[in-house]
């Protein structure tokens, strides 16, 4: 060790959990319930505890019947097919099935830990059968889990950033963590790594994505620096997933660099056109209903010059989508809007006019479902909701790629032990949460499934870790 460390008190615990989000707490609670002494090291201050879970809202899980907040059954097979659909088959079936089966009625377990659910309401009804919504959202869930963990006697340290692990002969011995100006060493019989992806580590993002990553916004916690991912990679852990894959959506360009969360999303793409800074359209805005497509637009915008795009809508559409946290740009002319965005007014006008000329509405416009009103002879086409943008005032938003979490992951065994390059596991190192999402999500995303992965892997890892005490 280059830095001088002092021994933490207690010097040794049964199970050490690195991270403080949903997966970490599921692991900590489960391990404690199995009789292990547990220490949780959360790198954020108490106010920002919970990692990205703080920004979540629901969990997808299978269940045989409707209940007070889920409107109908959701089977393993249906869930697996949904997963194949979004990942285009880019998943590991054995791991996916572990997550899906492990999620069976997991809401009941969550409620036992103090989590409260509510029925899906306006704007989220399409998920009302498959996803359980947390009353008050993810921070309320996190508050409940922390309260539960504390009551069970789990020891929790905030502002505690683990930056190194002592591993000998494939066996974890101790972790080193910084807390304030103190640097501690703590031993444990097993460690569960649940400290998230690396998406808040801008340097690493640039290494994966190239310099364009400088223009990415990080939607969630600024504390997910990928430290454990890096440490484990240095110790010969096997990783899964493309470092450029992740949950990446297009969000309002005015969002804060970190932690803007849910409110910065924009749902207006299907009702207008999206152009890049050269005023060119680049993708079919009306491919599918927005909830099924929003998670591809981050990558699309990331692929445009300067990683920026602009949505143009007219007054016919301004009330069709969820209100935005920042007001739209407004102008009575397309050119006026372009000059506010500092893009070429004539080019934008030409693009809008070309689009308008190819709109051939044949059916009644219906914002609620794909309405079949497609452009004719336009490239790229807009296959639904295509209607001329011609009713001032015109409104616009700028879009930036917003990364939620990266998929680059530690490869896991079916019991959530971290694998080495040769596919054999470390003896007492387990992992869960976003740090392991790539075991299931090769690409794409489905709503509420990050929480499923975190909860199921967290509980398995907690239980397995407790067995090593």
């Amino acid at each position: 060790m280059s830095k001088q460390s002092t021994a933490y008190s207690p010097q040794k615990v049964d199970v050490l959990v690195v991270g403080g989000g949903n997966a970490a707490l599921c692991a900590a609670i489960t391990a404690r319930q199995e009789g292990a002494s547990v220490l949780v090291l959360e790198s954020s201050p108490k106010h920002f505890r919970g990692g990205n879970s703080r920004h979540t809202r629901n969990i997808r899980y299978i269940h045989p019947a409707a209940n007070s907040f889920l409107t109908g059954p959701y089977t393993e097979e249906e869930c697996y097919q949904d997963l194949l659909g979004v990942t285009k088959g880019n998943t590991v079936e054995s791991m996916a099935r572990i997550v899906i089966r492990g999620s069976n009625n997991v809401g009941d377990w969550m409620m036992e830990q103090g989590v409260h659910f509510q029925p899906a309401m306006r704007g989220t009804l399409h998920l009302s059968r498959t996803n359980g919504f947390f009353l008050g959202g993810g921070k309320a869930l996190i508050n409940a889990y922390y309260a539960r963990a504390e009551k069970l006697g789990v020891k929790i340290e905030y502002d505690a950033t683990v930056d190194d692990l002592e591993i000998e002969n494939d066996e974890f011995r101790a972790a080193y963590f910084q807390q304030g100006d103190k640097y501690y060493r703590v031993e444990a019989k097993a460690v569960v790594l649940a400290s998230g992806g690396y998406q808040a580590n801008l340097e690493w993002l640039k290494r994966s994505w190239g310099p364009t990553a400088a223009n990415f916004l990080i939607r969630g916690t600024p504390y997910d620096k990928g430290l454990m991912l890096k440490v484990m990679m240095d110790h010969g852990a096997k990783t899964l997933g493309d470092p450029t894959q992740g949950h990446c959506v297009a969000i309002d360009g005015r969002a804060p660099k970190f932690d803007g969360g849910i409110c910065t999303r924009l749902d207006c793409v299907p009702f207008g056109i999206a152009v890049n800074k050269e005023c060119k359209r680049f993708y079919n805005e009306g491919e599918e209903i927005w909830p099924k497509r929003y998670a591809i637009w981050g990558r699309l915008v990331a692929g445009q010059p300067d990683q920026i795009a602009y949505i143009i809508i007219d007054s016919k559409s301004i009330d069709l989508f969820m209100p935005s946290v920042f007001p739209p740009f407004v102008s009575d002319t397309i050119e006026g809007l372009a000059s506010q965005f500092d893009i070429d007014p004539d080019a934008l006008k030409a693009t809008v006019e070309e689009f308008n000329a190819h709109c051939k509405p044949t059916k009644d416009f219906d914002s609620g479902k794909p309405d079949g009103n497609a452009t004719e002879g336009l490239e790229p086409p807009k296959t639904n909701w295509a209607r001329p943008i011609n009713q001032p005032p015109y409104y616009g938003y700028m879009l930036r790629p917003g990364i939620t979490f990266s998929y680059l992951s530690l490869a896991l065994t079916e019991r959530c032990f971290v694998k080495k390059q040769d596919d054999t596991p470390f003896k007492n190192i387990l992992a869960a949460g976003e740090l392991t999402s790539g075991n299931v999500l090769g690409q794409g995303y489905m709503a509420g499934f990050g929480m499923t992965i975190g909860t199921v892997f967290g509980r398995i890892a907690g239980k397995e870790a407790a067995c090593l005490k």
Binding site: G136, K139, N143, I262
Partner: protein, 365 residues
Amino acid sequence: MSEIMNEAHRVTTICNACRYCEGFCAVFPAMELRRTFTDEELKYFSNLCHNCRGCYYCCQYAPPHEFQLNYPKAMAELRKETYSEFAWPGFMGKIFKNNGMAVFGITLAAIIVLLAAAIGANGVQAFFTAYTGPESFYNIIPYSVMLVVFTLIFLFSLFCLGKGMAAMWKITGSKPEVFFSLKNHIQAVKDVLVLRYLDGNGEGCNYPDDRFSFIRRKFHHATFYGFAGCFVATLIAFFYDHVMGWPAPYDFASLPVFFGTVGGIALCIGTGGLAYLKFVMDPEPYDASTTSMDNAFTSLLFLVSLSGLLLLFMRSTSLMGLMLCIHLGLVLGLFLTMPCSKFVHMVYRYAALVRNAQEQRDGKA
């Protein structure tokens, strides 16, 4: 626009783009019926807010997040402004500025006037004499004074409250016909009687800290039903005395004493509990400038019921006169300050619930 109104607009815009809190109370579903907000609508929201604080503790944007979102506090600040704005007559609005001192001063003055008048009229000797039997209270304060002064002041204050509610209805841009729909009142009365919006979708609200509990709802119920019990006791007593001609005081086993005692004890527990919660609670999601208004109101209700209970037990002693004057002075203080104390929250919250009933039934603002 005031800074407080600006802040209400800023936070409401963030909330309506997030909407994670829609399960907690009436404000968020009301918000979701709209895309933009007028000042008038925010004034309505501020009175619809029950200050359950669920939205603060689950807020991903709460301080120290850079959005600095503190919805209960923003609503409390705006609500206090609306109390001044809605007040009738206009000068009552100014009393909300330094409310604790004002309520204390008015009440103290009422006690002193009653004491001075009673002692002056009866002489010290007679004032400190033990009386028993019917009409013993009237030895201290004459029947006519009690009837006329208290009834007139009470009715005037009720009138002021009515005018305040009318002002609120107009200022918040609520439609007159919404108020005249019986359905809306049935729903609003239900919401009040069960304190629906302090129930956090079945989990309670966040007092004294981030954990859900029903403690505030229980104390508020004790206060509300205790107050209702005392009010019923007063009505029955009024009926007995002025209609049936059975003068007070009444037996321990009589209806007025039963309702008054049970109600008074509940009111003491309720207001004491609410004041205690205010003292121990996390002060972050709270507008500290309302402390004096809040405490003045709970203290006054507490003292009214405590003095009433003491009067009950001391009514056969020579201290009856003193206790009667103190109790009636406190009641007079309560009556006088009804339109210019936190008492008004009942009226405005009720009106907001009436409007909310219509909006939620229609599914539109």
